[in-house]
Amino acid sequence: MDYYLQILTNVGIFITLTLSLNLINGYCGQFSLGHAGFWGVGAYASAVYGVYFALPIDPAFNMAIALSVGFIAAALCGLLIGIPCLRLKGDYLAIATIGFSEILRIIIMNTESIGGPRGFTNIPRWSNSWWVWGTALLVTLFMLNLKRSAYGRAIISIREDEIAAETMGVNLFRYKLFSFIVGAGIAGMAGSLVAHDQQFLHPNNFSFMWSVCILVMVILGGQGSVTGSIVGAVILTILPEILKLIGSDVSTWRVSIYAALMIILMLTRPQGIFGPHELFEKKKYQKGLA
């Protein structure tokens, strides 16, 4: 039972993470390959709160504070990284974000007070599946409503054509930075949930590999699609568990198959399962075609 509950919790965390990257990558079209870095910053920041500054209050309140700490810390990192990096485009931005997330990891690695290379232990367990799924639900609603507001439309127009968006009065830098900060912040909340669920953090859990995994979840579902992100996160979190049942040499086979799927997906359906559309609006835009 515990095993299934753990998978369920992981699914919820990855839905949150995938949606947060979808804001940056799918909505705004900015290619970030360092998302795990924000995840890690949120996790470590809220763990620091839990270990060194926890208030003697109900765990539920502490968890709420930890979530805010995770959000703010990661969002601040997003701001610091976003201001210089968002001038860059396409693969250059991707490279810069890899660079930053690796630097963050190395800084964590070299900070003894948060465990350094041994990992951060004794984090209080405040989180549970209610927190995880509550966060996932709120983030889903946020993303759906954002998409249907003028502000979401402005962000999406940047993905479609930067110059046209600017000519329509969209301040590119402001909206890119906004997506970057909020996306980073939400990833930080996911980090906070992980920290207070597993009670142990290691810098390598937030390496480049994980940035890639989150990205693949976004791409599989379809960049810009909220339902797509959810489906992508569910499939790719559960699939490895299923593969675990058939494979003997677990982790290695898993990544091999994962990687092969990634290539096949790109070759056959590069826009992902849903493209930029949602599950239930799929028919609408095709109506006029007939």
């Binding site: 507001s149 502000y151 968006a165 009065g169």
Partner: protein, 256 residues
């Protein structure tokens, strides 16, 4: 004397060693319909890019209602009232026709970000209004029946029209059209010239167009500016420009 709507004062644009536009001055009044013509590479699109803030002029000033646009960002210039279309159509391809129009309303949005996230009454009322107005605008261009189509699935002519509708949705005082007739057949061009007239009269705005189709230019432009190698070599009405020896030389080459 009334203030002109758009005023270009000795505008120059250099890219490294290349001077794309050199010391150009002209002005456009409210509800003027003017054309900028000239051979390929004469600096016409560069001129548009300077007016819309995509480039900042190396020298000189662009004024809208007497206000300098030099230090303004492209997005701010849109809210001040300049809209444009592009030579190679730049629509939001993966969005529906009506969403393309709605995005253009961006600078006039009243509700706040949180209104949008929590779907407050203010949000719903304003979105309803935007929807209605967008549909009305699309109807003017006969695009209302295609409102849910993705922009990339529209036929070429309709894409050009949508781009114009989108520019108008920003509620501009000045509309810049970059080669609107490119790739159109004579019937479509005829329709286009009526449409441009109609836009000017209906919305009471000034229109500047860059165009290679001389029949269209001569038919609708009240005033024509001719650029050659970045220099403004002639200006005036269709008759004056057609008979200006410098213009003939620019287009046909010098007589030997």
């Amino acid at each position: 004397m009334t203030q002109p709507l758009l005023d270009l004062k000795n505008v120059t644009m250099r890219f490294g060693g290349l001077t794309a536009v050199k010391d150009v001055s002209f002005s456009v009044n409210k509800t003027d319909l003017v054309a900028v013509i000239g051979p390929n590479g004469a600096g016409k699109t560069t001129l548009f890019n300077m007016i819309t803030g995509i480039y900042t002029p190396s020298e000189g000033q662009v004024l809208l209602d007497g206000l300098s646009l030099n230090d303004k960002q492209a997005s701010d210039i849109t809210s001040l009232g300049i809209a444009r279309t592009f030579q190679n159509i730049r629509l939001f391809n993966n969005l529906s026709v009506i969403d393309n129009i709605k995005i253009a309303r961006h600078t006039r949005i009243q509700y706040s970000f949180l209104d949008g996230i929590f779907k407050t009454k203010k949000y719903r009322n304003e979105e309803k209004l935007i929807e209605e107005e967008s549909l009305k605008l699309l109807a003017l261009f006969n695009l209302d029946s295609k409102k849910d189509l993705l922009a990339k699935n529209l036929p070429y002519g309709a894409q050009r029209k949508l781009e114009m509708a989108r520019a108008l949705a920003t509620k501009p005082k000045l509309l810049l059209l970059d080669e609107p007739a490119a790739g159109m057949n004579p019937t479509e061009t005829k329709e286009l010239s009526e449409l441009i007239h109609f836009i000017r009269d209906q919305f009471q705005i000034a229109v500047i167009l860059i165009e290679h189709d001389m029949r269209l230019v001569m038919e609708i432009a009240e005033k024509i500016f001719v650029l050659d190698y970045g220099n403004l070599i002639a200006s005036g009405n269709a008759f004056n420009v057609q008979n200006n020896p410098k213009v003939i030389e620019a287009y046909l080459g010098a007589e030997i």
